[in-house]
Symmetry: C2
Subunit: 320 residues, 2 copies
């Protein structure tokens, strides 16, 4: 997916965002500098900044202003990843050691706080109250989702509604906010703001469901971490919820506990990977995708609109 | 100290802030609700909101607007306490169980994030870019201080400069920001903003040094935690830095390590409590206090000015 947009008409702007990101998270404090740069260099698709830029194209596009919004959204995403890795006790992200594994949980907690603060500093360049309100509201919802996620871990009684609410807060809201704040900050009309917000929401839902599918179907190399990590860490995702409809699979799934030897779960992961439940989950992801495309049908014709459609269509085919 | 201003002319406004704080940190999420309310009800002197209100008196005072700033500053303070308690593995704060001890470190990390987000949401009611810039900058410095604090723990090679920089970030900057943002948000002149900022900075330094002294001299009941906790947790404070000038004390101090049995440190804590080093530290605290008073000499006569002077003078006599 990255390749597809890397050579698009936004290439120069995306490079500028990358530069802004490096400048912003830099610090004279050696640990924070190393930790932040390690995180930046480990890649990531930068889809949130991309959505900010594309959405801003529907208003008065000004890179020197909008780049602050784009960097803010990516840094908030980074901050939440750092804290999530503490909770998940993850040692790898995108194939690189996590901050909690390189240093410890305490450094990772404060590094997350630091990134969060950097994001705010970056956003304070934007003087539009509505954009700040939207951002703070989104961050709040993400935090609520994070607490719920702890409660939901290894909880095999949860239902589809619970899962959907979780991924909404975990992923969809920040992508939706990227689109909406991009539109707000560029002064796009309120109907355009709404279309982009809804597009981002549905796309984010589709994206996270695909992520949860790929955790089973992609290779360790593609994922940058062992396949099936979600299940081992007690994150009950859509393929797992579907798989629990099968009584024999359900028994195996519900016997997974915190601290289980990952090797013993491998056969089950393989079984789910080959099952029809993956296809079922994919179908739900596609439904959300179609909804997202529908939301932007009424947007004026623009290269940015074509890109938004292209990105949505690529979500279904991505490998990592 | 609390009693002194509780019956002041700001009593009604302070009560309104308390109400705003309760409203703001409330949550439909049960864990977050309990954790936040527990933290609020455990007290605290609310000096940051008080400084916001008093500073705002030098501009166009509007409680319905400034209360958001006051609540924001207190909630950011609360958020940083929650994360600090994780780092310090503290089980008590103000005599009440900490969030990390009631729940666990993971909940405490996210509860801190949640409070942080709530603070931002509250601040987004204020539409003055300068106030946001000041706030984000302050939060950033606090985060830098937190990381440095981890590095400085049990580091007996540190000097006075290192300690002063640490307490500046830990305490003085947020008090200084409370004063300055209170002034900014009420549209006070820039020279008044500067006077109040400097007052808050020096007062914050004095306040933290007194805090570090009280950790030795106050009773467990007054502190709400065992006396000498700082030393046991590896926080090298001003009385300790001075005590290390004595070779025999230095040997005892530098033999304290993480996880040491607190009982074995008690005689040393008593020795420091009774030493002249406490008086030396108190003298430095008083120096900062005098500087803070000097900063507001030129402020126009006002009941708020008298209160600022009164608070500063009370810092030296406080018991907790």
């Amino acid at each position: 997916m990255k390749v597809k947009w890397k050579y698009s008409y936004l290439k120069k702007d995306i490079n500028e965002i990358e530069y802004t990101l490096h400048q912003t998270v830099n610090s004279s404090q050696p640990i924070l500098k190393d930790a932040s740069l390690q995180l930046l260099q480990s890649g990531g698709k930068r889809i949130r900044p991309l959505f900010v830029l594309l959405s801003a194209k529907f208003g008065q596009y000004n890179l020197q202003s909008i780049k602050h919004v784009a960097a803010t959204l990516e840094i908030i995403h980074m901050a939440s990843l750092v804290h999530d890795d503490v909770i998940d006790e993850a040692s790898l992200r995108r194939g690189k050691p996590t901050i909690n594994s390189t240093y410890d949980n305490r450094v990772a907690m404060y590094a997350g706080d630091f990134l969060f603060a950097k994001a705010l500093e970056c956003m304070s360049e934007i003087e539009i109250p509505e954009a700040h309100q939207k951002l703070s509201n989104t961050i709040l919802e993400i935090c609520l989702g994070e607490i719920e996620q702890i409660k939901d871990k290894y909880n095999y009684e949860q239902n589809l509604k619970c899962y959907l609410r979780r991924i909404k807060r975990k992923t969809a809201l920040l992508i939706s906010a990227s689109c909406e704040i991009g539109a707000i900050a560029s002064g796009a009309s309120s109907s355009i703001q709404k279309s982009l917000r809804d597009y981002g929401y549905y796309l984010g839902m589709s994206y996270q469901i695909m992520d949860d599918i790929l955790d089973f179907t992609a290779s360790e190399k593609e994922l940058g971490k062992p396949a099936g990590s979600d299940l081992i860490q007690g994150n009950i995702t859509l393929p797992v919820l579907f798989a629990m409809q099968d009584q024999s699979l359900k028994e195996k799934i519900t016997s997974i506990y915190e601290g289980i030897n990952p090797e013993t779960v491998k056969p089950l992961i393989n079984q789910i990977r080959k099952s029809s439940f993956i296809k079922e989950a994919r179908r739900i992801s596609e439904e959300y995708l179609n909804k997202s495309l529908k939301c932007i049908e009424t947007l004026p014709d623009h290269e940015a609109k074509e890109m938004l459609i292209l990105i949505a269509k690529n979500i279904g085919n991505r490998k990592n």
